[in-house]
């Protein structure tokens, strides 16, 4: 198991009192697996990503990444934020090499990796453009390449497609999915879009309302081998959709 969450609790302290965000959350990700986290908005999905990314310490339980306890941000973890978050004052090249630029160690390899990724995914000719000159889909690709440039083992995707319109969203998510598979990365996707989670994932973890606990875990065995857009036509798609929808509705 490349990611292992063991009875994670997280309670925020503030002058007005305390807020319990996560309660007894346990699940794990196998290497190369694509898992989605779905749950009602504001339930603590992003908080859970923060714990795995080492941005927040759980108040109880432990998080293991690649066998080691998480104590802070690690190069093993790549994070894809909501929207592409490309810096508008940087060129595409300066954006995708942001990660290597921050660390002396492995900078050269990171730059080469970024160049290679831009080449392979058809963005080399845009290296000297600014983000505003690119389409939403291409920007999303750049955001992924920026994450891949540091060669992480696990990608945390924090509703990265939520700002795109429906049409673009379908093709961009399929595109990103294909790249992640091709690069052989493990991925954990946070989304509140049930269809999106079914079309992309191997397994789906359903979280409850706050404090978030694991409601159910669905294994999409018969869909695994299908690409995202074809999954939407598979008879099992509706079955999973209804099951998850009900799960969220009754317990949400």
């Amino acid at each position: 198991m490349i990611v292992q969450l063991d009875q994670i609790d997280l309670t925020y302290q503030s002058p007005d009192g305390q807020v319990e965000a996560l309660r007894d959350v346990s699940f794990s990700l196998a290497e190369g697996e694509f898992v989605s986290l779905v749950g009602p908005s504001g339930c603590g999905k992003s908080t859970l990503l923060s714990v795995i990314a080492g941005l927040e310490q759980p108040s109880g339980g432990r998080a293991l990444v690649d066998g080691e306890a998480v104590t802070g941000p690690s190069p093993k973890i790549g994070y894809m934020p909501q929207k592409d978050q490309l810096f508008p004052w940087r060129t595409i090249w300066a954006n995708v090499t942001l990660g290597p630029e921050l660390h002396r160690a492995g900078r050269k390899e990171g730059m080469e990796r970024a160049r290679d990724l831009l080449d392979r995914y058809g963005l080399a000719e845009f290296a000297h453009k600014t983000p505003s000159q690119l389409s939403g889909g291409m920007r999303q690709r750049c955001a992924l390449i920026r994450t891949l440039a540091t060669d992480p083992k696990i990608l945390l995707l924090d509703e990265p497609f939520s700002a795109l319109d429906y049409q673009t969203r379908l093709s961009v998510s399929a595109d990103i999915y294909a790249i992640i598979r091709q690069e052989g990365k493990t991925a954990l996707l946070v989304t509140h879009d049930i269809s999106e989670s079914i079309s992309l994932s191997d397994r789906i973890v359903v979280l409850s309302n706050r404090p978030a606990t694991v409601r159910a875990i669905y294994d999409l065995a018969e869909l695994r081998h299908l690409p995202p857009l074809e999954r939407r036509d598979h008879p099992a798609f509706r079955h999973y959709f209804n099951a998850i929808w009900k799960e969220l509705d009754t317990h949400g």
Partner: protein
Amino acid sequence: MDEQVLSPQRQLYLKKQKQRKAAVFLLRIGLLLALFATWEGASRSGLIDAFIFSSPSRVWETLADLAVSGELLLHVGTSMGETVAGFVLGTLLGTVIAILLWWSPFLSRVLDPYLVVLNALPKTALGPVFIVWMGAGPGSIIAMTLAISLIVTILEMHNGFLSTDPQKIRLMRTLGATRRQILLKLVLPANFTTMINALKVNVGLSWVGVIMGEFLVSRAGLGYLIVYGSQVFQMDLVMATVLLLAAAAALMYWCILWLEKVLKKYMGVTV
């Protein structure tokens, strides 16, 4: 785009735009000329007393005299130098202090009431204090401009820093960025526009500080000329100086606009 074949509607539209632009320009010039003509006419016909209200021709003569004696350059140069020193220092110092406040939220909490009180205080009240402390000279005048522009700059810049997109900060942190790197590679470039805006505001505030300062400790400068002129009842000199001041302030503002354009182009900023 379609340069070869312009549709008749397009041609008409472009023609109208051009006419409108010309009309605006001509009216602007015309308005200025009309103002001066009325002023001149009123003073010549005795409708207003030229001794008190001056007139464009007398202003012109005064300006010519000032230019010939070399005083024009001295006074305009003095005031402009002090203003530039004031807004450059104000913007830089304000940005540095805002960075410190961003770096330490604790410090920011501690200093908050001081900033609020200093911001509310009418800074001109400090003028006499500076003169006693720093003597009658450019030092006091620059201190005056700083007093007027610094606090606003700090508050403005700090606010800008704090409103940096939290998602981008999160991204930087997951990439393992240090606080220093977050500052240099994200917070400062993201607030480039805030800084230019602070600079623009500070140009105006600096002029207030410089003229205020020169009123109090005058030896040279446009403020000095205005006070001197009013004391010896030479209204020609006062009016000429006010017009000079308007021209100098406008010139400086245009320089900032130009600088903004150049910097934006250089930085590739498209926000």
